[in-house]
């Protein structure tokens, strides 16, 4: 009875523990193992060195996917942060109807990326979309056909992703701005420091942790981005907008190449870990359960 009482908490956690061990860590191990085998349509378990990774890095399509990840990830993160920060600072100026504006800026985050992709695909289609509309206004030579141009289509993905996530970054930054100690700001005002200097010299530096969080979330979204590409371009034209996530999916479910799927998934995980592990470590270490 006493033993039971003492161990109830452990027993409550046990099922989750087992589930996480199998379905997260066990599965990662399984995928890692497969990535070192010659598995094709069916999994094989004989280890075969790093052949899959050599194939992966030799594949032009993977090359495109990784390039796209850096272009997409870089632009998406930088633009979303810039817009998010600007909107947050603007909204922080005692704006009337702040609540309404905030609601409008943030609602895309509630949508499925498939919905976002569907909407932007329609808006950006050159035949009937925004290009045609602007031409209808009299700008006959206006061209905005990025979605069908292999060299530009990736920027369309950036556009839709920024539309979806920048409001969320705004919300993060706004919360950060509001949490800055009012006394510091009042002290600065008393000292006669102009508003833009108060922001650049006092408020924004104290928000470093929020920049970090926003970066982590956006990076994480960028690497996982899959739905948006599928809905917006399907990875096309050709495989011009492939990302590692779509590459992995194509290998796993359409090409029947488990080895390639597994090794590309492992690379994705390593990219995420390179970003997230230091972050989690710093978040978990020094703080004592606030």
């Amino acid at each position: 009875m006493e033993w039971l009482e003492r161990n109830v908490p452990k027993m409550v956690l046990a099922p989750s523990f087992v589930a996480i061990m199998i379905f997260v860590y066990g599965f990662i191990a399984w995928t890692a193992w497969i990535s070192f085998t010659k598995s094709r349509l069916m999994p094989k378990y004989d280890l075969d060195g790093i052949g899959q990774y050599e194939r992966l890095f030799a594949a032009p399509r993977w090359d495109v996917a990784m390039n796209n990840l850096f272009i997409f990830g870089g632009l998406f993160i930088v633009i979303s942060m810039a817009i998010g920060l600007a909107l947050a600072i603007f909204l922080d100026q005692k704006i009337r109807a702040e609540g309404v504006l905030r609601t409008i800026y943030l609602y895309p985050m509630a949508l499925s990326l498939i919905v976002t992709g569907t909407a932007w695909k329609w808006i950006l289609n050159p035949g009937l979309g925004i290009q045609e509309t602007v031409r209808g206004w009299g700008f006959e030579s206006f061209t905005f056909d990025w979605i069908i141009r292999p060299d530009m289509a990736i920027y369309v993905i950036v556009l839709a992703a920024v539309w979806q996530a920048s409001g969320f970054v705004m919300a993060l930054f706004l919360a950060g701005l509001r949490s800055v100690d009012g006394e510091i700001i009042r002290a600065a005002q008393v000292d006669g420091i102009p508003t833009h200097r108060i922001y650049s010299a006092i408020i924004i530096p104290t928000m470093a942790p929020i920049f970090l969080s926003a970066f982590i979330v956006l990076a994480h979204l960028a690497i996982k981005a899959f739905d948006l590409v599928i809905a917006l371009t399907g990875g096309g034209p050709g495989y011009a907008t492939d990302l590692p996530a779509t590459y992995m999916y194509a290998m796993a479910f359409s090409r029947g190449d488990l080895g390639q799927a597994a090794s590309s998934a492992m690379i994705m995980m390593m990219v995420i870990f390179a970003i997230v592990v230091p972050y989690l470590y710093s978040e978990l270490r020094p703080r004592h359960d606030k």
Binding site: V8, P9, V12, L13, S16, F17, A19, I20, F23, V24, Y25, G26, F27, T31, P43, F90, Q93, L101, T103, I104, Y107, P108, M109, A110, L111, S112, I114, V115, T118, A119, K121, W122, I123, L128, G129, E132, T133, W163, G167, A171, L172, I210, K224, F226, D227, A231, A245, Y249, A252, L258, A262, A265, M268, I272, V276, L280, E283, L284, D289, K290
Partner: protein, 284 residues
């Protein structure tokens, strides 16, 4: 006009332009969905519909073709409901109990396990896609709604646990100690003391999980069968189905239908939605 009021005017102008940028796709979706195909071809993308028609909505809901199946979104919408409701409930209940243990009943190794769970929140799901497909096959859940529920519960646990843990950790441990001296046990304390104060965090967890699961596409497209596809997968199939004339108005109506539940949640409980987003992303 003084420079100060000009500055204010400029500020409002920028804010309103951004609002238009965010609203434009929704506006286009809505107007397009109410136009006939004829009007879409001849008119402007941004124009309001001349003759409002609800036919695209009816078609999207009940007759549009997703792949070979031409029953509209309706069956898939219900698939999503059948998948999301149990998955949200189970993952929230388990997350609440887990969070309660992590926050108030620590034991040796609990912190390590919590870090492992947290870590699981961040893995790219691609890395579990292949083995999960195999595992669902072994368990006889492949291509079924229970299979999807299972997957969403497993990979939602990290976040729900995190929510509840971070909420309960702000409650002084003396409360549990007082209740122990009063003679209450693990479940009694949870039920009488912690559950009654948990409504805000339950709301956050339910909204977060519902949004995640409803909007999921990757698990849906990877693990569902013909009869168990969730609404996001069906929407993508309708939009990309190559047969017949491209019915943009139907696509847009379908997109709005698929987005409606989560939009509704956002409008009704936006505060909790934002709390979920920030809690889920910021604090470890």
């Amino acid at each position: 006009m003084t420079s100060k009021t000009m500055l204010r005017a400029g500020l409002y102008l920028i804010l309103i332009l951004f609002a238009l940028f965010y609203l434009m796709p929704l506006f286009v979706m809505l107007t397009t969905s109410l136009k006939s195909l004829e009007e879409i071809r001849t008119g402007s993308l941004l124009a309001l519909p001349r003759d409002i028609t609800f036919a695209p909505w009816v078609e999207a809901w009940s007759t549009a073709c997703a792949g070979t199946q031409c029953e509209g979104l309706r069956p898939f919408f219900w698939n999503s409901v059948l998948m999301a409701v149990p998955a949200v409930m189970i993952s929230t209940v388990v997350g609440a109990l887990n969070g309660y243990v992590f926050a108030q009943w620590r034991f040796r190794g609990a912190n390590l396990f919590f870090a492992m769970i947290l870590f699981g929140c961040f893995i790219p799901f691609q890395v579990v896609l292949l083995p999960m497909a195999q595992m669902l096959g072994l368990m006889g859940l492949a291509g079924s709604i229970p299979g999807l529920i299972f997957v969403h519960v497993i990979y939602g646990l990290g976040f729900t646990t995190l929510f509840f843990r971070n909420y309960y950790v702000t409650i002084p441990q003396e409360l549990v100690r007082a209740a122990k001296v009063d003679g209450a046990g693990f479940f009694r304390i949870f039920w009488s003391i912690f559950l009654p104060i948990s409504l805000p965090i339950i709301t956050v967890s339910v909204i977060w999980q519902f949004t995640q699961i409803w909007n999921d596409f990757l698990f849906g497209v990877s693990f569902s069968g013909a009869g168990s596809q969730p609404v996001t997968v069906a929407l993508n199939n309708i939009v990309n189905s190559t047969t017949g004339v491209k019915a943009y108005n139907v696509d847009m109506a379908a997109a709005i239908i698929a987005a409606l539940p989560t939009l509704l949640v956002y409008v009704v409980a936006g505060k909790y939605f934002i709390r979920g987003l920030t809690a889920g992303s910021v604090k470890g």
